[in-house]
Amino acid sequence: MILARLASLKLTLIGMLALGVGVFLGYKLESAPLWVMVVPLLLLSVNLLAALATNPRFRRQSGLVVFHYCLLGVLLLASVGRLTTFKGHVEITEGQGFEADLVQLDQEGPWHPRSRLQRVRFTQGRMRIDYEAGLQRGETRSEVVTGEDPLAKRIVRFGDNVPLEASGYRFYTTSNKGYAVLLTWIGKDDRAVTAAVHLDSYPRRDWNQRRRWSADSGTELELELHLPQTVPMDRAWSLDSRDADGALAVTAAGGETLALNPGDTVAVAGGRLRYHGLRMWMGYEIFYDPTLPWLFATALVGVLGLAWHVRGRFFSRPLPRTLGGPAEPERAATRNAVGV
């Protein structure tokens, strides 16, 4: 009795209307609670399961049943996806290997196996971004070298529309990229520390290619990059990591400004600074959701089931001749179409 009530088509309509309202509220109000969508979805799920259990007429319509089972499957998989998902971002310099510890976390489901990210291994290679006149971004291409065994190494090229896939994670290139100055700081104790200091996003913030950097001994240095060219606005051009070149101006607190070209070493307060040269870094968004292929397959099978049902329900029957009257073959009906 209860199951029969839960299986009511009227309840389905109420659930669908409530879901529509929930989606609208979620769209209009940023503070809308999650339950405005979750409750209608749960109601619809219960309603559907009850209908499948109690309604033999519904069960006989195989295409429709497949569609509804798949709707449940999509809902279930999307929920599992939320629990296992991982979203993060990271900046990687050309020549640098991926390090999971540098990843900034954006979102992580409670079932995401954190150690899995440690399995990802690749080294950043060349990157190239095309621009049209007026700084309109075109294609972004990035290369990485995967595999630790020298014999198994291979270059993977990816970019817009094609993410890098590694250990189930997807790495997407972003519009965030820029220059990094490769420096070695040698302290008075002769201890050397090499670092790639990332400057602001380029060319978006080309006017701000400077930053303060704290050397290993605590010495504060002001770094400013001087590029040989400005961003061309009137023509198409490419930003290519192979062309990265520029001089570095270094200012220690209270000291004079020193100009360094790649390969130069200068003595500054508390140690020596060697400027190896200019590299580029690429900002990646990282996405992990193991349900994606299953979600796609389930949704597709569901719609195929729906198409099968629609074909049988709507298209394999002749058009009726009169309201509530007997049907006649579509061909005859078409021939008799009045006025047409």
Binding site: L9, K10, T12, L13, M16, L17, L19, G20, V23, F24, G26, Y27, E132, Q136, R137, G138, E139, T140, G159, D160, N161, V162, P163, R170, Y172, E285, F287, L292, L295, F296, A299, L300, G302, V303, L306, A307, V310, R313, F314, F315, L319, P320, R321, T322, L323, G324, G325, A333, T334, R335, A337, V338, G339, V340
Partner: protein
């Protein structure tokens, strides 16, 4: 600015659609069918719009996917093509042309009021899933247009317009059944469009669904279609109520397709 040849083709296409609309209405008022005439004019319009799109495509270097002008232009072509095919192959569809063809004219007049300035195709649009997504969307809206033509025609009949002509057409059960067939077909293609769009979004932006404006309204439209089909299966509705649901769902789809770009200027522009 459009080129001279693009403008000529555009005006030619609009003239074809306007003439076919006039012919359809003339046939309705005079109670005479001008089917071949309507179909020929509509087909001529479709061909001219196809040439117009091709000319622009070659000139600007990308397909009609981006600006409001391009979206309207491509839909004038695709909706005209789908409607012409349905009009040609299914005679029962033809009475609905007095409602469906003016909708195309509205799009055409709207097109004349928006800027034809080309934009630059973002790299995220260079994806074959975009083609699949857009193609399925056009079949969805085309099927919906056929359904709304019939439903609108039947509603007009109920309100007393062309009373004599409606009486001459006899019972309208076949038109009602056909409207729901095309509406159900639209639901299938809308579902496929959402799937293809999700695959494209995953490749392009690293997420398959993010509830942006267009995604949200596309889902609400899908829900509206589902609710309409469910309501028809659940209740013995008055016929006019069913036809009104078809018209309402089409209106929602129309606003989603052509209204949302007003908010974001281009589909999904916020996350290009």
């Amino acid at each position: 600015m459009p080129s001279v040849s693009e403008s000529l083709l555009l005006w030619g296409g609009l003239a074809g659609y306007a003439a076919s609309t006039a012919a359809a209405w003339h046939g309705a008022v005079r109670r005479r069918g001008h089917d071949r005439f309507v179909l020929a004019l509509l087909s001529a319009g479709v061909v001219l719009f196809a040439l117009c799109i091709a000319e622009r495509w070659v000139r600007v270097g990308y397909g009609p996917f981006l600006t409001m002008y391009e979206i309207l232009l491509s839909n004038l072509f695709s909706l005209g093509l789908i409607y012409a095919l349905a009009y040609w192959r299914v005679a029962w569809v033809r009475p609905g042309s007095i409602v469906a063809l003016p909708i195309l004219l509205v799009l055409g007049l709207w097109l004349l009021r928006v800027s034809a300035e080309p934009s630059q195709l973002p790299a995220t649009y260079e994806n074959y899933w975009l083609w699949i997504h857009v193609g399925l969307g056009k079949v969805f809206l085309g099927s919906c247009l056929v359904a709304v033509g019939l439903a609108g025609f039947l509603l007009l009949g109920r309100t007393g317009f062309f009373r004599d002509w409606f009486a001459q057409l006899g019972d309208h059960a076949a038109l009602d059944a056909l409207a729901w067939r095309f509406f159900a077909l639209a639901f299938v293609f809308h579902s496929l469009m959402l799937i293809a769009g999700a695959v494209w979004a995953q490749d392009a932006w690293g997420r398959y669904w993010d509830w942006d404006s267009l995604e949200t309204w596309a889902f609400i439209t899908w829900l509206a279609l589902g609710i309409s089909l469910h309501t028809r299966a659940t209740y013995r509705l008055p016929l006019w109520a069913g036809w009104s649901m078809i018209v309402g769902s089409f209106t929602l789809a129309f606003l989603t397709f052509f209204g949302m770009p007003f908010l974001s200027l281009a589909p999904h522009k916020g996350i290009v």
